[in-house]
Symmetry: D4
């Protein structure tokens, strides 16, 4: 698994080829189309998921998870990070249920999704701006919540700091946090939990 950020397409392709040669599932995050073009030259079967900015090739080393991972997000602008999480979780063998457009300022939509939230074995919550969604969702479920702050926002959001701090200070129990925009990390944790 490769973090595409800060690597050239050529570096990415070389590491990708090595991973596939070892028989491991390939998963490149923050991957540009240029990186995909370079990877495809080495790994022709690799697929590019542009909404998630992920290059992947699933191999035999992935076993199925036990339950469903719900990925919840509030807004259109958070979707790239939510998709990075959802697609990563799927590639790791998990059933994923996407709940997008469930913000805290419109509780009725969120409350309308209670049944699907209740079906989750673990919930990933992706939110920018004030980052309040994990607290509200954690109050509605009794499974672990992995919160992902996003860099979406402007002014005093400070590139995701406001959301990050909000999530770290969540008044609801059961919430842990990963780095800003780290959809991949959240999916890895959720998948570890879902495979226990």
């Amino acid at each position: 698994m490769i973090l595409g950020l800060g690597k050239t397409p050529a570096q990415t392709a070389a590491i990708a080829a090595e991973i596939v040669r070892r028989g491991s599932t390939l998963l490149v995050t923050r991957a540009s189309r240029e990186a995909y073009d370079a990877v495809r030259a080495e790994v022709p079967d690799a697929t590019y998921y542009p909404d998630a900015a992920i290059i992947a090739l699933r191999q035999q080393d992935v076993s199925p998870g036990k339950g469903t991972i719900v990925v919840a997000a509030a807004g259109t602008a958070d979707l790239p990070v939510a998709e990075e999480a959802a697609k990563t979780a799927e590639l790791m063998g998990n059933d994923v249920c996407r709940l997008y457009d469930v913000g805290v300022a419109g509780l009725h939509r969120l409350l309308g999704e209670r049944a699907r939230l209740a079906s989750a074995r673990v919930v990933i919550v992706v939110a920018g701006m004030e980052g309040a969604l994990p607290s509200v969702i954690a109050g509605l479920v009794s499974v672990p919540v992995v919160a992902v702050p996003t860099s979406i926002g402007y002014g005093a959001s400070f590139g995701g700091i406001a959301a990050l701090l909000g999530m770290l200070n969540s008044c609801a129990s059961g919430v842990s946090v990963v780095n800003i925009d780290n959809g991949f990390g959240a999916a890895t944790i959720a998948s570890l939990i879902n495979h226990l």
Copy 2:
């Protein structure tokens, strides 16, 4: 109106006496009992409200507000700031409705108070930690919401910064923010609105 913080009891008492002499309503915030003892020697009719840390003497210059100001807060530890806001608003001539113990991690209590929220002409929301309550309440009402971050919390709450940033980045419209722990300021604004 005097901010008690950073003034000696003697300084507070001298300014208080001068205010009362001019026929103005006296309102000292962040007032210790020592300050009250000093003030009472000069202004015998002044009252001390320990929950709000306010010394006050209402005079003729206060006119009644038009509607109700709801003061909402989530937790026990936020009550001193909430009371500073509520008592200030009352002393400025407003009807005040207190909704304490309505946190975002227990939505049912908050939703159970919808009718009272709907009756407000303006809502003051006091919250520490992640400061998510104003966003949720602003999604439930269609009147102005004045948000007060509190310094309650620990670690990455940074003395109220997390709550402050959360409120400034609220995804709900209609939310404006005052300084950390500034219950008095929120009440002043709410009262100005309620007297329009």
Copy 3:
């Protein structure tokens, strides 16, 4: 109402079409001309206000406000945010009076506008750099002041933090604050107040 920031023109146009279909007034902020071109293909009657970076189409759901909203700003560079506030307020049914070029370092111009300030039911003050204008104006009026820090400045203005902190610490009462550059948010609050 759509925050254009972080959305593609296609995403903006799709949401805009949906809003208009529901009969609601359309208001897109931080909108580029490219976004406008995409919206116009879906909503031919939409108008673009380049000074405010707003795309809008007013519909039947807007009722007139009761008084005048004054929008005050100090400098040329703050005008895009001031216009976002002023145009938003107008589209929400309010009479708006613009007082631009009234900085704290040239008090005579500001004092010369006292009559117009006194006519306001609520004042929006837009300021970058040290953000001192709201304190001075709040000392001259007795209505609510909504302060908007802007990201204008350099060096130790830190993208609007200096102005934001200045406004949060205002020594004048009656001042509440919104996020940096959030002219839309300020207008929404002012309009809520003006419709009470």
Copy 4:
């Protein structure tokens, strides 16, 4: 479950009595001995664990977890937070294995505990200063790691910020983070995972 911080002994005791009356397990964190004295007057069977600063009374509502939770910490000064986590996890029905004194600057001790690490269903890692321990441990196990930064340190540790940032930026996958000194929160998440 009560966060003792910011509450008076009397407030704590009142809430504690109410919790026990409802038949729920009582767990007060950051509890002083004064708080314990107040609680014991209301709840005579409550126990005080001074190393963890916890007051507790376990009731029927706790079910046993499935595996072992390992709590790892590097230094003497981090033990209060580690004990808050370990004791909380035990009170929630989990088997807990404590691995204290396993810092990154003395890898041999850590590597000597590999077997016990491998036996965990979830690992809580408590660390101050540079907060590097979670990364190293996550590289040695294949279960979820919940990282707790502590406020231990001086100078550029900034009350736990250095450790918090270190953990959020962990290069190892499977690490999620809770607030500084939040041993209780980490234990709650670990217990949720261990009860799945």
Copy 5:
């Protein structure tokens, strides 16, 4: 000249004795009464100014300044810093005019002091909270303004950072800034200017 902060009374007294022995004017800032007691044992003629927290003994090495230094401050709580500046300037041989209680939220008082401001050769402006006073005063005078942020305030004043940033970003020209609470430093600069 000695900064008393961070020195024991004994250390202060020893340095003070040495300074006087060399024939230089003694000036200890941030001096406690305990420090004064220790100094007086070595330098019996030294005087203590409690409002300014200064111990001093003026000697022959001080020459008179050419004009008047105005020291302006807004609030009661800023007076210790203002007095440190004013008393230091006097001890350095300057005529000092104190303008206290001239805040930006009450412009009429400030405007009423225009004549005295106009008489200054240099102005020291001491302000906490939003730190707006230097900008306003610099717009009224045409001499150098030395701004001193104070640590007065709470919440988002961050111990004087808000005032410091406000002053550094002053939109008025002619304003330079010293460290938070550094009344002594401002007076030294003003005195250098006044002796040119």
Copy 6:
């Protein structure tokens, strides 16, 4: 005098034309060549100083200063800010002496310029990185030192914060500070002092 930053060439040209029409000296800082082209169309006699990024046209309203302003800077990368200060000071009627390439890590060059430093009526010191030069120079002269931090540096210089903090904490007396990169502001203060 116009801060070019954040204004379009057209806005700059319009304000410039107005200033010249009033008979005032024109001085535009942070001016691009595009801005100059626009200004020249309105004010044909205006001159562009590319090293200082200044557009100017001196008029009758400038009187000569009394002494020399020394502008000192340490490194090649600080020269744009140093030139903004030096050229501004010259346009305001002052004799300016430039001491470039006098860094604290090469004391001999600095000590070799003692005579020229001693000739100054006021010194402007421009420095990035650790910002130590003002302290060292203030220890060598007995006139006011105006310190200008620059945004030069990388990593932990944080765009000039390191230099700014260094200067605010100068252990030498007589140093006051302006905003990061604010050569214009320093020159204005120095010129005010030099015209006293």
Copy 7:
């Protein structure tokens, strides 16, 4: 030795020519290919090392170091900084041993390099993200460790602050730190030590 950052190719070339004329070894860091083209016109024998972004021409003034400097780094993205350090050290006359790809999350690779680490007279450790590598390596060696945080990372790495703070708070003794991305500085220190 020249820091290329913030200088134009022409400025760089002029200083380079002057250095070579004095007979000193030329070393330009953060050098673009454009800068190299300009330098080569003046100093035809200069070499460009693109991986290290260094232009150099070694001369007679370099003496050999006594032992080996190990340069360790964890990830592909940190290599430009590691190469700046390694190449600088070589140009200063030192034997350099590169240990790249030895991250804390894969201890086996690091432990497999123990022999080479033990051979070092001084170790330079380059790391981004959480910056934990210096602590782990310092626990394995008994020579000085110079730690270089890199700006590699995203979100809460804050451009290298997380790594910088982690290194400053290292629980291992023997670690000192240089500025973010300052491979050159680390090499200079290591070379000074290696020449003792």
Copy 8:
């Protein structure tokens, strides 16, 4: 070697006894007299150095260093940290030369100590406030400089951040930095270098 900070006297004494039992030199930093009383009960031969806040008992495991370590500091208030460094270095077997009272604002004193600086094999520089001393000293010597920022200062020194940033951004080469107030850490590095 024990960091006393954050440990109780009893914890300190227990670890101290264990260290001595193993035959290792005992060195407790940040040690209070209470800690010493507890240690002495277990280790009667231990000595307390109050100026350095160090408890120590030197044993056979210390070998002599090769040259002299100079410890330089500017001010009285920095002495506790300087003494922690100097005493630690001595206990580790090094000859130490103390140069106290050599600040950058009084260059003549510093230049008068050139000979002693030149005699050093490594220099430790301790400085608070703007932290400029290491840059100046590094310009005078050609051996490694280990810089220790101290928390001495007020206002914008931010507990040592200003000094820390100043040192990290040193324009002089050969300077590396340790944590704020970490005299022990600097001495350890200097001793490692001096024993090479």
